[in-house]
Amino acid sequence: MSGIYPSVDHEKDNRFGRLQTKLITFVVLPYYLSPVAYTKFWIDTEKHYGTDYGSNPSSELKRARFDMRNKLSHLADAVKAHIHDGDTVFVGGFGQCIPFATGQEIVRQNRKSLTLCRSGADIFFDMLIAAGCVRKAVFGYVGNPGIGLGHAFRRAVEAGTLEVEDWTNFAMVLRLHAGALGIPYIPAATLVGGDLPVGVRTAPVTCPFTGEKLVAIPALNPDVAIIHGQFADSEGNLQLFGLSGDTADGALASKRIVATVEKIVPAAAIRAQPDHTIVPGFRISAVCEVPYGAHPAYVEGFYGRDDAAYMEWDKIARSAERLNAWLDTEIRGTKSFAEYWARLDPSRIADLVAARGRELASAA
């Protein structure tokens, strides 16, 4: 059997055949008979053709679980899936609705080399800087409003371990707004004079119509926005009542958006007052129900600002050791925001809830 025929290893062929048979019998067939394959087929079909589920309640349930419009997620999963090492992260909220729960989860998952950006930043930046998550800060202000400096921020800049870009609040708002407008820059009459314009990338620009000399402020399009609001439906349509600062501009300028809310409500509740929706569901990557998720900031209609916590932060953060110990016990030492929250004194929580401000209609 030598010569023109190549030698054939029949035993090897047989082994391969037996393997194929086993694969088909024990892996492929069970998969196609399983609910997993059924669901995948079902979702693919839904993606291509859409489906009218009528008013069948069981269909509604399926819709909530498998619909591509469904953005519901656990916060830990959302952070894992959408916030990566090295990302530029826009942090939403201005005084109220600061996404502290998401910030905590970023610390727990030990994200590295983030660039944090927003206009006026409070101790949220301090927390992530102290936890070693941040490489660079791009901002108008970083501090503890009305109380003092951001101590972790201050130490990191003085030690040369944190890169900074000093803008102004208006300039940061314009950068994000230009990003949301989908244009590369926006002309403005700020950032003229003094030392601030020297350190940032702006350019002189002349109005083609009037000849007025202005400053070109470059757009900013962060990789991911983290924002907090009062309500959203399962599709992620997100509502924010009260002060929102630059939240909408920052979110809409970002490529991905991870949202937390006080309460997930039925779509009908959102659609009953759509003028409070600041981000449409199709722009949201994930939405998570995290009650009290803005603490120690506040959320109108739910709880007041924990000024005492901001004052305590001033004491804790003055010492790097003490701050690190606090992070170890309160953040890294808890599994979730809910566990962190459960450790707070109930009387303190009662006081915060009593200071919730106006009642919001769609809380019902």
């Binding site: 003094g194 009260g242 600002r305 401000g357």
Partner: protein, 251 residues
């Protein structure tokens, strides 16, 4: 009438700079306290604006942050930061009320860094809206506690530019606002008509030397240094009440 605290006197003196009808963009601290005092007292038609988006705010207690709940507790309008800063850039705000870590002889303000920018001795909070207000509000009033460390001949870093003069390296054609009208301290009032910080008036209870005590350079005095009028009882009471509900002092 009980004796006013130093802080309440300062708030009252600062509040008097606000005239009825003034549209005021205010920062936290004495600027906010003075604006609330004026609005509740002698200037009921003045309008308080916070950068967080509150327009015609009337905080029941002075806010710790421009985004605090009290800012929106009794306000006429809530808009975005963009909404507020748009109006600022349009030039419809009469006054910007500012404070800072340092002020110099040309009215430049520093809230960014003590020491060199690249190797800071103390890294401060940064501009916030201060630079924007300094450049875009029609006129600026600077409110500073009397602290010699804060009055220096040249600030370490110009966060918010002051005088629109060539001597200060500024091009008046490129800046929309007029710049600083005055600096008020608990001990006096300073103006810039002479092209640099000049003692214009002294507060009740202080003399000319005390008004510039400890400043880092020789501050010129006006030909005639005026005396600021005594703080009347109503203004003093309002300032005291506002400062008390704030509870955090004036520096």
């Amino acid at each position: 009438m009980t004796e006013l605290s130093e802080g309440a006197k300062f708030v009252a003196i600062a509040a008097r700079e606000i005239a009825d009808g003034d549209i005021c963009f205010v920062g936290i601290g004495v600027p906010s306290l003075a604006a609330i005092t004026a609005r509740r007292g002698h200037a009921p038609d003045s309008v308080i604006i916070y950068e967080s988006g509150a327009i015609d705010a009337l905080p029941p207690v002075p806010p710790l942050s421009t985004g605090s709940p009290s800012v929106v507790a009794d306000t006429a309008m809530v808009t975005s930061c963009l909404g507020v800063f748009s109006m600022l850039q349009q030039g419809v705000f009469d006054l910007g009320l500012l404070s800072a870590a340092q002020v110099d002889r040309f009215g430049n303000l520093n809230s960014t860094v003590l020491g060199p920018y690249a190797t800071p001795k103390v890294r401060l909070v940064g501009s916030g809206g201060a630079h924007d207000i300094a450049v875009l509000a029609r006129e600026i009033i600077i409110m500073m506690p009397h602290d010699p460390r804060r009055f220096v001949e040249k600030v370490d870093y110009i966060t918010s530019p002051g005088l629109r003069t060539a001597a200060n390296g500024m091009d008046a054609d490129r800046t929309r606002g007029k710049g600083p009208r005055c600096v008020v301290t608990p001990r006096g009032r300073f103006t810039f008509e002479a092209g640099e910080l000049t003692l214009d008036a002294i507060a009740p209870g202080f003399d000319e030397a005390q008004a510039v005590e400890g400043f880092g350079w020789k501050v010129p005095h006006a030909h005639v240094v005026r005396r600021l009028p005594k703080i009347d009882e109503a203004l003093g009471a309002t300032a005291s009440a506002v400062l008390k509900s704030w509870g955090r002092g004036t520096d």
